[in-house]
Amino acid sequence: MIDRNQPDLPDGVATRALELNGRRIPFQAGETILEVAQRAAVEIPTLCHDPRLEPAGACRTCLVEVDGQRRLVPACKTPAADGDKVRTESERVDRHRKTLLALYLTDHPKDRAVAERGAPNELLDMADRYDAPRNWGSMTSSRESRNGDRNPYIHFNAETCISCARCTRYCDEVEGVSAITLANRGAHTTISTVESLSLLDTTCEMCGGCVDVCPTGAMGEKMPLTRHAKPERELTKVRSTCNFCGVGCQLDLNVDPEAENGHGRVVKVTSPPAGTTTNDGNLCVKGRFAYDFIHHEDRLTMPLVRDESGELVETSWENALAVAAAGLQGVAERHGKDALGFVSSSRCTMEENYLIQKLARAVYGTNNIHQCAAT
């Protein structure tokens, strides 16, 4: 398998080369023009492409010029050929991009405030980058949305959908559940489910991959929207490791640092780009959507000690620590050190597991330290 992030191919692998904007770039059999360009850090715009998916060649933004080819070719779907002379920037390519993007914009909100309520909008970014005309008028297509879908997480905004099918292909090819599909034809093409059912009643596993791959935020997250969270661009992303199963998915906690009186609030979780982490940009329902527990009202905010009446009551840290230490030391004095047991947690960090075993061994003198996972 080709490592997309390897700028230079290992010796002996590359036996062929093409010319990209006049530069000679070696490549391996089977690579597409887009893959070669990405490895050489030459930008080719894409909307429907995702490295996890089979190329679709649907959006036409990646068209490039290849000498000897009468028409522009889609870089995502065209295998690189030895000796190809490829141009990603030319008068002809530029004219094509401007025209194409201008056409997309006729059926798209041009105002960022409207088009970017959820995630950053790649189409608008691209239109800015290539200086596409925005005055070609408006031809709003009548895509059906599923506003009645009572699923709690995933929202479909037909207005910003460009029918690139990244979401449906992800659902088929990566998650493998085929819960969503392209429905209807032509300008009516939309993203739907069997009989327009709620995602809750389909094979959907709520992984949110459709949200992640959508270039325009048409597949979006409900919770940040209904809670009026700031747009994603104004949030701070903190890269961390998921706290559920043992796969160790990398995720970005999207934090509104001003919320909670400046203590910060996690308002969304997004996945890092495909190809950069163990999870390849994928997350499951828990990793992507189960973050409300962080700020849940049931969280403990004060140390508690049990009073004479048997109730747990709030107290200071100083007192709680003194009571805890005296209590454990008392047990050790009365019954010996091995009358103490320490239970650690595979949910806590490696540092915390180190400290608790050191606490058990070095401070309390017992090896009675374990956690739930030793099989």
């Binding site: 559920f244 199963c245 009571v323 239970v343 595979s346 070095a362 030793a374």
Partner: protein, 563 residues
């Protein structure tokens, strides 16, 4: 883990997650991958889509079995019979890698001798798997170069869990499927930091990095490093410790685990907790265990702290603080330092990075890794570093045993089939298994506080075969009582053909229907891991039960999906 340490010398996935997609044969046993490890399932789906062959061995029909070439629906607890019969075929048909065995292993002859009587025909009688399927699986596994085994708690949570691991390891060793990409033996870890917790020494027999507490040299090293006298007596493992609570264990310090909900046969544990003299619990939420606490420290969740987690593939990755803990809650590592200092120690760590550095100083598997080095890997193709990583220049280790098996020689372990500790009888006619679902997580302190996950699965249920249900006068979605020798719980009965006749299955996540009130705490003789996967149970209808709310099975939507 104990099983793998014995046979290979290291208890971890031998391959990396990224190698799964390139495998040509995937043998998935005792792992409901799409629900318990959805992201690994995506990699397996990718491999199958690419043309790899997958075989799923599981008593239940699961999502993965719907795309598998074969689903070997064995009777719960008959794993050793099944695995030994695979070994039998490999030996009989000359498929063993004699060269690899001679160079890299010891103890093969005993295994060859033992498996001689485990013929596929006899295995069919015990396991219910057709003999032809056993032969086919053995041949495919043995003759495919990139063949990997993936397993989880369906293998280990038995009284013969370690035997199951040995039997699997025997297959790996006799076919030489080790030390190569996409070819090895891979336990998928259930919690984010199972690997890291064990690596860091939160175990009764090992200091950090699997250095034994009863090794005088290791003891001397840590006594010097920590400046205190240390005990050479191995401690109690968790299952025993929990049985001893209130008896020989009078004081308990529990960090981040709801033991009362998670441990088997929890009625006994509750009695013990009441009899204990002093209990300290460190938790972000009140839970079943805090009911017994004398002191509760309010702790933090992952988004509020710095540190590292180590995943299933030994990859050490950073956890970063994104927000402050609420109110006066503190990070767990700070609380532990405060607790040590309140108990008379003088710990001077100022950050989680300081703690990591001390850990790595005395455990060379991790010495080359530091917070600073991990932070520098963020923008690289892959984040994190895989141990062993002994020096700051070391690139980390993608798959183990490449330059020979870590133990020196891989150790074959001949194992004989032993029945599960408690099997159905006249009084308790059904076999109960427990497990996870996609939408909740362990004791669900976190996930049941998510409205969305609760919308998908909001109450406890059991899966029961319609034939068994009808015999007991139970309609689909009736409220039932599940009873075992240890207690009973109520749950909604769901007609299901995912389970075999005479078997029932229930998820473990629901506090109001604690599966572990009924599970068996009989332990494996080596690890003492409890037999969560097999016990005898009976189900009766509860009269006048309210109508059920929305009920959704896990990720299974096969042709025989529940009615």
């Amino acid at each position: 883990m104990a099983g793998l340490v014995t046979t290979f010398g290291a208890g971890a996935m031998t391959n990396s997650i990224g190698e799964i997609r390139n495998a040509d044969f995937l043998f998935v046993i005792g792992s409901n991958t799409s629900e318990a490890h959805p992201i690994i399932a995506m990699e397996m789906k990718r491999a199958v889509r690419r043309g790899a062959t997958m075989v799923v061995a599981d008593p239940r029909k699961i999502w993965m079995s719907t795309i598998a070439e074969k689903h070997l629906q064995l009777r719960p607890g008959t794993d050793v019979w099944f695995l030994n019969s695979l070994a039998h075929v490999i030996c009989e048909e000359g498929l063993a890698d004699e060269d690899f065995i001679a160079k890299n292993t010891e103890g093969f002859e005993a295994v060859r001798e033992t498996v001689r009587r485990y013929t596929p025909e006899e295995a069919e009688k015990v396991t219910g798997i057709p003999a032809e399927d056993i032969r086919w699986t053995a041949r495919e596994y043995a003759t495919t170069e990139k063949a990997g085994i993936y397993y989880t708690l369906g293998i280990t949570e038995h009284t013969h869990g370690t035997d199951n691991v040995y039997a699997l390891a025997n297959l790996v060793l006799m076919t030489g499927h080790l030390g190569k990409p996409s070819s090895g033996m891979n336990p998928l870890r259930g919690q984010n930091n199972v690997q890291g917790a064990n690596d860091a020494g939160a175990t009764p027999i090992f200091y950090p990095g699997y250095q034994r507490v009863d090794d005088p040299a290791v003891q001397a090293k840590y006594e010097k490093s920590w400046g205190v006298k240390l005990s050479p007596e191995p401690g109690l493992n968790l299952n025993i410790m929990m049985k001893e609570v209130g008896k020989s264990i009078k004081g308990l310090f529990v960090m981040g685990e709801d033991v009362v909900l998670s441990e088997p046969n929890c009625m006994e544990l509750e009695k013990g907790m009441n009899a204990a003299e002093f209990i300290v619990v460190q938790e972000p939420f009140l839970n079943q265990t805090t009911r017994f606490a004398d002191v509760v420290f309010p702790s933090s969740v992952f988004a509020e702290k710095e540190g590292v987690f180590t995943n299933s593939e030994r990859r050490v990755q950073r956890v970063r603080k994104a927000v402050d803990p609420p109110g006066h809650a503190r990070e767990d590592w700070r609380i532990l330092i405060d607790m040590a200092n309140a108990s008379g120690a003088r710990w001077a760590f100022e950050s989680a990075a300081d703690v990591y550095d001390e850990l790595a100083r005395d455990a060379d598997k991790f010495s080359g890794i530091s917070h600073a080095r991990l932070d520098a890997t963020v923008s690289l193709p892959k984040t994190g570093l895989q141990w062993p990583c002994p020096t700051p220049e070391h690139p980390g280790t993608t798959f183990l045993h490449e330059e020979g098996i870590l133990r020196g020689k891989g150790l074959f372990q001949a194992v004989e089939y032993r029945p599960s500790a408690e099997l159905p009888d006249e009084t308790y006619g059904l076999l109960l298994s427990t497990g996870r679902t996609l939408y909740h997580y362990n004791s669900a302190t976190q996930t049941r506080r998510e409205t969305g996950l609760d919308a998908k699965q909001s109450e406890a249920w059991i899966e029961i075969h319609p034939r068994d249900a009808k015999k007991r006068g139970i309609e689909d979605r009736d409220m039932v009582e599940v009873t075992t020798r240890r207690g009973s719980v109520r749950a909604r009965a769901l007609y299901s053909r995912q389970v075999q006749p005479r078997c029932i299955w229930m998820p473990l996540h629901f506090a109001e229907a604690r599966a572990n009130l009924v599970t068996n705490d009989a332990g494996d003789p080596v690890t003492d891991t409890a037999e969560y996967k097999v016990c005898a149970a009976e189900v009766t209808k509860v009269e006048e039960s309210a109508a059920g709310v929305g009920l959704y099975p896990g990720s299974f939507y096969g042709v025989d999906a529940p009615a």
